[in-house]
Assembly symmetry: C2
Homo-oligomer: 165 residues x 2
DNA sequence: GTCTATACCCGGATAGAC
DNA sequence: GTCTATCCGGGTATAGAC
């Protein structure tokens, strides 16, 4: 499992092959299938691991922060930038919900929902903003000179004030 | 070119192979290389085509709208949902900027910059929100019962009012 | 649990004849 | 411009021996 995460984080999704995984742990490719049913099982395990880690980070970031949404934004961005390939594995493809532990997805999202005043639509808007910021940064889609931090602050400010109409 | 776009839109990036493209236009795979330098040239051509089309749609949506940002949001979402694979080819990977016509990227983004009151940070925040909403919808990452339209309205409302502090 | 050997897919791209 | 033949790489996965 650890080897799989290393491969993914070091080399992206293309580097996460059953052959390479076997090589990394010092056995031949076919032997992997004595430990893992198939590649999807590996991906699911990495998703569960990442989702758990990310959720805990968010909980820690929110705890005792005077501006939960801003704290969450910082935690969100820093985790995504530190683990871009794992972030994409989790958030840039359909989630295998039926193979995830009960409540894991909800727990990872709970801090944001709380920070958004328990308004699910506002929470989703805030999530979309954060996800969009991260994806555009990771793929280098912002123009070269863009001040990404300023855009984050602008979005957090706008989404933090439900009264603003 | 048209065949390439069909392949991409019908079957996603995996369907866009030089072999399939050749098959679609009725020749053998190697003959493709008499028309296209390599696969990247094909992708660049599709990106240019899509960026141009998308930019024109945004200009049309903004023209004469009383709420430009809301109109842009509708146009953005509908184009992305109608062409998900082309959208991702354009927005979910690094842009080959050096192979794009001069000014194309800027023109596609101009309507949003204008709608955001010429504040680049606010424009980028709004773009990130829209991009995040689209990506999360396309990948099915929102929870099953989520009201995606409501989240769009919430985000557009929040990002539309720069005065709100 | 590990191995070798293998089956079966796919991809991008080139050489050289016509 | 098209063809055939081919080279190279990659991948998931199974069979059967040890």
């Amino acid at each position: 499992m650890a080897a799989g995460r290393e491969l993914l984080e070091e080399g992206g999704p293309d580097a996460l092959s059953m052959r390479r995984l076997a090589g990394r742990v010092g056995i031949r490719a076919p032997s992997i299938y004595k430990h893992l049913a198939d590649k999807e099982a590996l991906e699911v395990a990495l998703i569960v691991d990442g989702l758990r880690e990310f959720g805990e980070l968010c909980e820690a970031a929110v705890a005792g922060a005077d501006d939960p949404l801003a704290a969450l934004a910082v935690a969100y961005r820093s985790w995504a930038v530190a683990h871009p390939h794992l972030y994409r594995l989790i958030n840039d493809r359909p989630l295998p919900r039926d193979r995830l532990p009960e409540g894991l997805e909800a727990r990872a999202g709970a801090p944001l929902v709380a920070a958004a005043g328990r308004d699910p639509d506002r929470a989703r808007a805030a999530w979309a903003f954060a996800h969009g910021m991260v994806m555009l940064e990771l793929t280098g889609r912002f123009p070269p000179g863009a001040d990404i931090g300023a855009a984050w602050r602008e979005g957090v400010r706008a989404l933090a004030s439900p009264e603003a109409v």
